[in-house]
C-alpha cells in the first residue's frame, strides 16, 4: 500500500464505529471491539478515582504529623486506592481493553466465542463499580485492600459487605472474560493459525485466563465467608469463636498472589508485540516466551504464603514457600533475556510505544529483582509490611503493567480509532512518566529498609525527606498520566487519519482496515506464515520510510 492513499481515504469507509449510532447501539452491543471501548472508558474512570486517592495519601505523607485529614479518613483513602486500582483497574485493564479488542482479530475470528457473555462481563464490572462508588460515597472501607480478619469481620464499622459485593461482581466479570478467552483461543482460530503461530499476546492472555478461572473463585468464596461472618456473627475467622485468622490469609492470598500474575502477564504479552515490531524481528526464543507464560501461571499458584512469612506459619512452611518463590522468578527472567536478545541486530525505532516498552523493561527489572529480596526469608522479616514492599509492587504494577498498557494503547490506537496520536507529545509523556515514576517509588525502597511501615498516616520526622521526594515524584507522574488522557481524547476528533498499518507491523490485525469493520475480516483468513514475519514484510518495504506522520 502506498503512502498517498493511506493518509486520506477518498470515501469514509464503514467501520465498527460508524456502523451504528446511538446510546443503545453501544450499551447493547455484542461487538468485542465496542465492548473494548466501553471498558476503556470505564477503566480510565476508575483509574482516575484510584489516582485521586493516591494523591490524597501522598499529600498527607508530605508531613510527619497527621495534619491533612483524620486517621480514619487516611485509612479509607489508602484502602480505596488499593481496592479500586487492583480490582477495577489493574486486573481488567489489559485483558478487557486490549485483549477484548485484539484477540479475535489476532486469531482470525469474527468475534469472541461468547459475545453476549462478553457484554455481561462489562455489565458485571459496571455493577461492581457502581456498588464500589456507592460504598465510597457512604463512608468507604478502612481495612486495607487485604481486609484481614478479625479486624474486617469484628472490629470495623465500615462498609465491608458493600465493598465485598463490589469486588465479588468485578471478580465474576474477570472470570467470564477468562472463560471467553480460553474457549476463543481453543475453538475460534482461523485455518492455518496453529498454536505456534499465535502472537505472544494471545499466549499471554491464555495463561492469564487460566489464572482468572481457577483463582478468582477462591477469593469469591472468601469474600462470601467474610460477609456471612459479619451478617450472621459466625466465627469462621474469629479466634474468639473458635475460628482461625490465618485461614483467611491463606484463602485470600491463594487468589491474590496469582492475581498479580493476572496483572502482569497480559502486559508482558503487549511488550512482546511492541519489541518485535519496533525491532523489526521475531521475538527471540518464541516458544520459551510462550511456555514461560504458562509456567508463570502454574507456579504462581503455589507460592502464596510468601505473603505470610511472619504471620505465624511454621518454619518449614516458610522454607518451602521461599524456595518455590525463587522458582517462579525463573520464567520472568527468561522473558526478560529473550526480549533483550530480540533487540540484538534489530532495527530499532523509538516511537512512543517502544519508549514505553523500554520503560517497562527498565522498571520491571528493578521490580522483579526486588521480588527476589522479598523471597529471601531473612530479608522479608525486616521489610515485609514496610514501604519496601510498596515500592516493589508499584514497580511491577505501575512500572510494569501500566507502562505496557500505555505502550499498547498507543501502538493499537490507530487500529482502534483510525486516528494517529501526536507522536511528540506521546514521547514527552513517556519520559515524564518514567522520571516521575522513579522519583516516586525509588525512595520508598530506602524508606522501607530504614523501617517505615506501610499504611502509616504519621511517621517519625527523620522519614520526611524521603516522603517529600516521593510525593514530588507522584505529582510529576500524575502529569505524565494526564497528558495521554488529554491528547488521546483530542486525537479521536482532530488526529490525523491513520493508515491501515502505520507501523508496518506483523499480525492479522494490521491486515484489516483501521478501524476494523464489525466482523473484522471480509473473508476468513487462511494463515500460511509464521508469527512476526518481519523479515518478509521488510523485504517488501525496505525502500520506504515508515509512513507515520509526525
Amino acid at each position: 500500500m502506498s503512502t498517498a492513499t493511506a493518509i486520506t481515504p477518498p470515501v469514509e469507509r464503514e467501520d465498527y464505529l460508524n456502523k451504528e449510532h446511538g446510546v443503545f447501539s453501544w450499551l447493547l452491543t455484542v461487538d468485542h471491539k465496542r465492548i473494548a471501548l466501553l471498558y476503556l472508558a470505564s477503566v480510565t474512570f476508575f483509574f482516575f478515582i484510584g489516582g485521586v486517592f493516591a494523591l490524597l495519601v501522598r499529600l498527607e505523607l508530605l508531613t510527619p504529623a497527621g495534619d491533612l485529614m483524620q486517621a480514619d479518613t487516611y485509612n479509607k483513602a489508602f484502602t480505596m486506592h488499593g481496592m479500586v486500582m487492583v480490582f477495577f483497574f489493574l486486573i481488567p485493564v489489559v485483558p478487557a481493553v486490549l485483549g477484548n479488542f485484539l484477540i479475535p482479530i489476532m486469531i482470525g475470528a469474527k468475534d469472541l466465542a461468547f459475545p453476549r457473555i462478553n457484554l455481561l462481563s462489562w455489565y458485571l464490572y459496571i455493577a461492581g463499580g457502581c456498588v464500589m462508588i456507592h460504598c465510597m460515597l457512604t463512608g468507604g472501607v478502612d481495612t486495607g485492600w487485604t481486609f484481614y480478619t478479625p479486624f474486617s469481620t469484628a472490629f470495623t464499622n465500615t462498609k465491608i459487605i458493600e465493598a465485598g459485593i463490589a469486588v465479588f461482581l468485578a471478580g465474576f466479570s474477570s472470570i467470564l472474560t477468562g472463560l471467553n478467552f480460553i474457549v476463543t483461543t481453543h475453538r475460534m482460530r482461523a485455518p492455518g493459525m496453529t498454536w505456534s503461530r499465535l502472537p505472544l499476546f494471545v499466549w499471554a492472555h491464555y495463561a492469564t485466563s487460566i489464572i482468572q478461572i481457577l483463582g478468582t473463585p477462591v477469593i469469591a468464596i472468601t469474600i462470601l465467608l467474610v460477609v456471612a461472618e459479619r451478617l450472621f456473627h459466625l466465627g469462621v475467622f474469629d479466634p474468639k469463636l473458635g475460628g482461625d485468622p490465618l485461614l483467611f490469609q491463606h484463602l485470600f492470598w491463594f487468589y491474590s498472589h496469582p492475581a498479580v500474575y493476572i496483572m502482569i502477564l497480559p502486559a508482558m504479552g503487549v511488550v512482546s508485540e511492541l519489541i518485535a515490531c519496533f525491532s523489526r524481528k521475531r521475538i527471540f526464543g518464541y516458544s520459551f516466551v510462550a511456555m514461560s507464560s504458562i509456567g508463570i501461571a502454574v507456579i504462581g499458584f503455589i507460592v502464596w504464603a510468601h505473603h505470610m512469612f511472619v504471620a505465624g506459619i511454621s518454619l518449614y512452611a516458610a522454607l518451602i514457600f521461599s524456595a518455590l518463590s525463587y522458582l517462579v522468578a525463573v520464567p520472568s527472567a527468561i522473558k526478560t533475556f529473550n526480549w533483550t536478545a530480540t533487540m540484538y541486530k534489530g532495527s530499532i525505532r523509538y516511537d512512543a510505544p517502544m519508549l514505553y516498552a523500554f520503560g517497562f523493561l527498565g522498571l520491571f527489572i528493578v521490580g522483579g529483582l526486588t521480588g527476589l529480596f522479598l523471597a529471601a526469608l531473612g530479608i522479608d522479616v525486616h521489610v515485609t509490611d514496610t514501604y519496601f514492599v510498596v515500592a516493589h509492587f508499584h514497580y511491577i504494577m505501575v512500572g510494569g503493567t501500566l507502562m505496557a498498557y500505555l505502550g499498547g494503547i498507543h501502538f493499537w490506537w490507530p487500529k482502534m480509532t483510525g486516528r494517529l496520536y501526536p507522536e511528540g507529545w506521546a514521547r514527552l509523556a513517556a519520559l515524564i512518566v518514567f522520571v516521575g515514576f522513579n522519583l516516586t517509588f525509588f525512595p520508598q525502597f530506602i524508606l522501607g529498609y530504614v523501617g517505615m511501615p506501610r499504611r502509616y498516616y504519621q511517621y517519625p520526622p527523620e522519614f520526611q525527606v524521603l516522603n517529600i521526594l516521593s510525593t514530588a515524584g507522584a505529582t510529576i507522574l500524575g502529569i505524565g498520566y494526564l497528558l495521554p488522557m488529554i491528547y488521546l481524547t483530542w486525537s479521536m476528533r482532530y488526529g490525523k487519519i491513520a493508515p491501515d498499518n502505520p507501523w508496518q507491523a506483523a499480525g492479522l490485525e494490521w491486515k484489516i482496515q483501521s478501524p476494523p469493520t464489525t466482523f473484522n475480516f471480509v473473508q476468513e483468513p487462511v494463515v500460511t506464515w509464521e508469527a512476526y514475519n518481519y523479515d518478509e514484510i521488510d523485504d517488501v518495504h525496505t525502500h520506504e520510510e515508515a509512513p507515520v506522520a509526525r
Partner: protein, 245 residues
C-alpha cells in the same frame, strides 16, 4: 479447530447458528468447552469451602462428629437418591434431545424439575428442623442432645465414643456455620439449575431442540450433573462422619 467452513450463505440460513461461528460444530464445541471451563471455576468456588471444612474437621474432630450426628441422615440419604435419580432423568433428556424424541425430552425435563424441587423441599424441612432445635449459628445457638435415659429432655452432648468429654459449643457452632454455608450455596446452585431447566423446558416445548441442535440441553445437563456431584461430596462429609452402627 472446526470443520472446513460451509459457505456463509448456507450457514446464515440456520437460525440456530450464531453469526460469528463458522459452522454448527464450532458453535457446539465452543459451548461445550465453555461449560467445562465454567465448571472448573465452580470446583474452585466450592473448593475453598471444602478446604475450610477439612481444616476445622481435623481441628475439632470430636465436636464435628457430634454435630454431624445431629443431622437427619434419612432425609440426607433420601436427598442423595433424589439427586442421583434427577441426574438419570437428565441423561435421558439429553439422549432424547439428540435423537429427536420430543415427548421423552419433555417428560424427563419435567421429572428433573420435580426431583429438583423435591430436593429443595426436603432441604427446607431439614433447615426448619435445625431452626427448631436451635442449631442455627448465632444468638440462639444451643447445641444439646436428647438424654439417653430421659427422651425429650435435652442435655449437653458428648463427643462420639467418649461419654466423658463434652462438646464445645463454639466448635459445634463452627460445624453448623459451614453446614449452612455449604448446603446453602449448593441449594442456590440447585435453584439456578431449576431456573435453567425451566427455560430448557419452555424451549423444548416450542420445538427448539432437534438432533441437529441440542447444545443447550447438553450443557444444561453438564451443569446439573455438576451440582449433583457437589452434593455427593457434601453428603458423606457432612452427614456420615463418625456414624457408628
Amino acid at each position: 479447530m472446526h470443520d472446513s467452513a460451509t459457505t456463509a450463505h448456507h450457514a446464515a440460513h440456520d437460525p440456530a447458528l450464531l453469526h460469528h461461528f463458522a459452522d454448527e460444530s464450532q458453535q457446539r464445541n465452543a459451548a461445550s468447552l465453555g461449560m467445562w471451563v465454567f465448571l472448573a471455576q465452580e470446583v474452585m468456588f466450592f473448593g475453598g469451602l471444602f478446604c475450610a471444612y477439612l481444616i476445622y474437621r481435623l481441628k475439632y474432630f470430636g465436636d464435628f462428629g457430634a454435630a454431624s450426628q445431629s443431622l437427619n441422615i434419612t432425609l440426607g440419604a433420601t436427598n442423595t437418591i433424589v439427586l442421583i435419580c434427577s441426574s438419570l432423568t437428565v441423561v435421558f433428556a439429553v439422549w432424547a434431545a439428540k435423537h429427536g424424541k420430543r415427548s421423552m425430552l419433555l417428560i424427563n425435563l419435567v421429572l428433573t424439575l420435580i426431583l429438583g424441587c423435591a430436593f429443595l423441599g426436603i432441604k427446607a424441612v431439614e433447615y426448619r428442623d435445625k431452626f427448631v432445635e436451635h442449631h442455627v449459628p448465632g444468638a440462639t445457638f444451643d447445641f444439646k442432645c436428647e438424654s439417653p435415659g430421659h427422651p425429650g429432655q435435652l442435655v449437653p452432648c458428648h463427643i462420639p465414643g467418649n461419654k466423658d468429654i463434652l462438646v464445645n459449643q463454639r466448635h459445634a457452632e463452627m460445624f453448623f456455620s459451614l453446614y449452612f454455608i455449604m448446603t446453602g450455596l449448593h441449594a442456590l446452585h440447585m435453584i439456578i439449575g431449576i431456573g435453567l431447566f425451566l427455560w430448557l423446558l419452555i424451549m423444548a416445548w416450542k420445538g427448539r431442540y432437534t438432533p441437529h441442535y441440542n447444545t443447550p440441553v447438553e450443557i444444561g445437563g453438564l451443569y446439573w450433573h455438576f451440582v449433583d456431584l457437589v452434593w455427593i461430596y457434601l453428603f458423606p462429609l457432612l452427614y456420615l462422619i463418625d456414624r457408628h452402627p
